[in-house]
């Protein structure tokens, strides 16, 4: 663990392992949860094998205000595919049109384990390279999520 350049996550889902695996590897399902509500996913392709590619493009809708129309592609190559417990990939993500300055390169590893019908997820993401303006893409996507949670809070009132 290298806290300077790596982030780690641990989550438990009320769902069997196969369902979590499917949500993470089936493009139709990925489209439904990967991005914030106000972001569409016009492109999502998954070639699920070692050496295969995953490509997800997020596009900010009109509701995203100043970010409307911005596209954030992510492309990755699988380095491990062990259904339904392990997925690893080397990923590159950027803001379209600003690839040279916003690209971030990461190595991500996902591990799933099931117990009593619940699934534990462990995710590590190590940042290997970042463009000088890599912070912009993260901020744009966060803006989308922030709006999404505002909406949820509004709904729950």
């Amino acid at each position: 663990m290298d806290p300077i350049k790596e982030v780690k996550f641990e989550r438990e889902f009320e769902a069997p392992i196969q369902k979590v695996w499917q949500a993470w590897t089936d493009p139709e399902q990925l489209k439904k949860w990967w991005g914030p509500n106000d972001v569409t996913i016009p492109e999502c392709e998954v070639d699920l094998k070692v050496g295969g590619k995953i490509r997800i493009v997020m596009e900010a809708s009109e509701a995203m205000g100043e970010y409307a129309g911005t596209r954030w592609p992510m492309e990755a190559t699988f380095t491990a595919v062990e259904e339904p417990t392990k997925l690893a990939y080397e990923a590159k993500a950027w803001t379209e049109g600003m690839e040279a300055t916003t690209t971030i390169e990461t190595v991500q590893e996902l591990t799933l384990t099931e117990e009593n019908g619940k699934t534990k997820l462990y995710l590590t993401a190590a940042i290997h390279k970042a463009g000088p303006d890599a912070g912009m893409a993260v901020q744009g996507m966060q803006y989308g999520y922030a709006q999404q949670f505002d909406k949820l809070a509004e709904y729950l009132k």
């Binding site: 290298d2 300077i4 350049k5 982030v7 996550f9 989550r11 889902f13 009320e14 769902a15 369902k19 979590v20 949500a23 993470w24 399902q29 439904k32 949860w33 990967w34 991005g35 914030p36 971030i104 997820l121 995710l123 993401a125 940042i127 290997h128 390279k129 970042a130 463009g131 000088p132 303006d133 890599a134 912070g135 993260v138 901020q139 996507m141 966060q142 999520y145 999404q148 949670f149």
Partner: protein
């Protein structure tokens, strides 16, 4: 919107190397002379100087002279920028995982 003080590319390029990350961790614990820094590594002083230059360029460390010694300490601002970015990146994933959790609960 967060304004980063420094561009992120130099920071993450500097952090890409395990020796440089190790040096940074040690300097974070307190100011060290260049020779103190070099001591544990099986490396020429020139090689260590090169690592220090990259850390300095990324504004993760600063150097000052005291007599004949050059003393190295952490540059809090550069490190804060790296932390800020990691924190934002982490939040993005937390939100994405919340979204996955909702999806799994409703499908």
């Amino acid at each position: 919107m967060v304004e980063y003080t420094f561009p992120l590319d130099n920071i993450f390029a500097a952090l890409a190397d395990p020796t440089r990350r190790d040096i940074l961790q040690r300097v974070r614990e307190g100011e060290l002379s260049v020779s103190d820094i070099a001591e544990p590594y099986d490396m020429s002083l020139a090689a260590i100087s090169k690592h220090l230059k990259l850390l300095e360029k990324a504004r993760l460390i600063t150097k000052r002279k005291q007599g004949k010694e050059r003393l190295v300490s952490v540059n809090v601002q550069g490190l804060a920028d790296a932390d800020e970015y990691l924190q934002q990146y982490k939040e993005l994933w937390e939100q994405r995982l919340d979204s996955l959790s909702d999806y799994l609960a409703n499908n």
